[in-house]
Symmetry: C2
Subunit: 343 residues, 2 copies
């Protein structure tokens, strides 16, 4: 369904705002989207955690993707950062830019996707802007969450000797995107329709690991969400922390369908480790905290955490990478491309 | 200067972040742009005022505009909203999207423009995102300010009988844009180079009326910034407040060059009242507060405020507009287009 479906009524900015306004109910300071600004009264004693991560057609979602999915993903990729920081979502601002006026039906479905996402994540629309301009449909969300003061989990505070953990499974979204671009891959990979659908859903409907947030605050020395590829993001954490690290590729958790694909095409493993769009949490955890954290994650959050490597005691080198990746056969793995390149 | 000037080195995301990082100094919770999120500790007892208003090449600025000017305007149009709400800027998040990797020189000038703007407005870069995608260069800023709790000046609280005031002068940016599109207009309008330059500068370098913020908190019953055109924005304030209003077109303050243009082309007046990009403040003020507010604005803020009309005692009508505009000759003025149409 295209935003400007010709069978449908194209609508203007006032109609778009009217459709969005119900998403602002429940936050008095959104003023029903009838003011120029939103007002947020911070929870007493809290810090606010802020993130902006726009998504654009052709970059983060595909032309013709369902508006519900576009909306879900636009909010989820931002909330995923909050989860990794140990924060609780409060609300978001959203700037929509359309290449042409949207159709009423498309917009109504987009609002439904946002409603589902904000209900799942516990936040409200606070305000925003809509505009028309050439170029791809873009949804620019800025999300605001809260942590108790001092409670934000940092990215660059990984200590030497820490264990590296990731949530869920890695690389599913990359395979889902590959399947959307070439549906014939499903049979080439020997995937059932349900398996293929699982991978596609992981691309379109990332699930921010909000249930992990309180556990990360308690146990993690450092954490970040994985959006640009495990290797690239882990390098960022280590470099920022000034330390080298070791990753066991064979330990990286894969879903059953991803495991099937890698069994048929072992060279796909490097793709899964670098493609991005995972929206899982990477955490550096003191070894003594690993068992209680993993146990609590499995039981209270329902999210598996897997040990994939360690933070070394040696510093990050001046040149080259300080991340040593051991391949499944025990030899070092190197990567032509460590992750998503923004430019 | 184009973002991707071929005579210059094109730079990647890490180099862009390195150039931006100095703008984040002075706000500890920006973590030198090295974390996924920013942390903001709200001033005790305050509410936060939030706004997002992206600018895009070809819509809010022109291809080839100087990067310093693009940067200034991108921040200024957001801060202008804070000023009208009586808020004090704290910081901003910025998502940059480039159609191609930017050149180092372009980016350095862009950073200089941001530095000048954030210094003038008293805020810091907190975080953001950079990406490449097709379409126009886009700068998506979300700005955060603070007010004492209960202190935000609302848009839709204009009371019956209030006087309508605007800051500065109206329509200059519209004329500046017209001059940029057709430089021959300067001589057709009989403008000196300095007068033409004044109008162009008003388009490129809007000045948020931050000095008015404390005065608006004290005296204004309602206020908003003017971005989409005086007529359209005033209609929004009145409709939201549920009241009709009256505007005297001849009372609307014009700069000397704008006055010259209207003297030659009286039909331009409607253009100036509807074109937008003014970034002045519109306020509804109880009549008794007008004299002290105007006096304080002129003396302590250095910004003239002009009475342009009144909020009526009659409600906003179910159909049509409740804004009655009296033209310079005393007859009603109507508008084919009341302001900037976002779609």
């Amino acid at each position: 369904m295209a935003p400007g479906n010709p069978d449908d009524t194209l609508i203007g900015e006032e109609a778009v705002i009217a459709l969005l306004a119900p998403l602002a109910e429940g936050h008095a300071g959104a003023f029903g989207l009838e003011d120029d600004c939103a007002l947020l009264t911070p929870p007493p004693g809290s810090g606010l955690v802020l993130k902006t991560d726009p998504v654009a057609e052709g970059v983060h979602f595909l032309p013709g993707d369902a508006p519900e999915d576009i909306a879900w993903k636009a909010l989820a990729v931002n909330v995923s950062d909050l989860a990794a920081k140990g924060a609780t979502p409060i609300g978001y601002l959203m700037a929509l830019s359309f290449p042409e006026a949207p159709a009423r039906t498309w917009m109504a479905h987009f609002v439904e996707g946002l409603r589902a996402a904000q209900t799942a994540f516990g936040c409200h629309l606070l305000g925003g802007d809509t505009d028309r301009r050439p170029g791809p449909l873009t949804v620019s969300i800025t999300v605001i969450g809260s942590v108790l003061q001092g409670g934000m989990v940092r990215r660059t505070t990984a200590p030497a000797g820490a264990t590296l953990l990731v949530s869920g499974t890695i690389g599913d979204a990359a395979l889902g995107l590959a399947l959307l671009r070439d549906p014939a891959l499903a049979s080439a990979w020997g995937l059932s329709p349900a398996e293929a659908e699982h991978l596609v859903r992981r691309y379109r409907r990332p699930e921010p690991r909000l249930a992990l947030a309180p556990l990360l605050r308690r146990h993690a020395a450092a954490a970040m969400d994985l959006s640009d590829g495990l290797i690239k993001d882990l390098e960022r954490m280590l470099r920022g922390s000034g330390l080298s690290g070791r990753l066991l590729a064979a330990a990286v958790p894969l879903s059953d369908p991803a495991r099937k694909v890698v069994a048929r095409e072992p060279e796909r493993l490097a793709h899964l480790l670098t493609a991005g769009d995972d929206y899982e949490v990477l955490a550096a955890v003191p070894p003594s905290a690993c068992a209680p954290l993993r146990s609590a994650a499995a039981t209270t959050a329902g999210v598996p955490l897997t040990e994939i490597g360690t933070v070394e005691f040696s510093g990050w080198p001046e040149a080259g990478s300080g991340l040593h990746v051991e391949g499944p056969d025990g030899t070092p793995l190197t990567f032509a491309r460590t992750g998503w390149v923004h430019f």
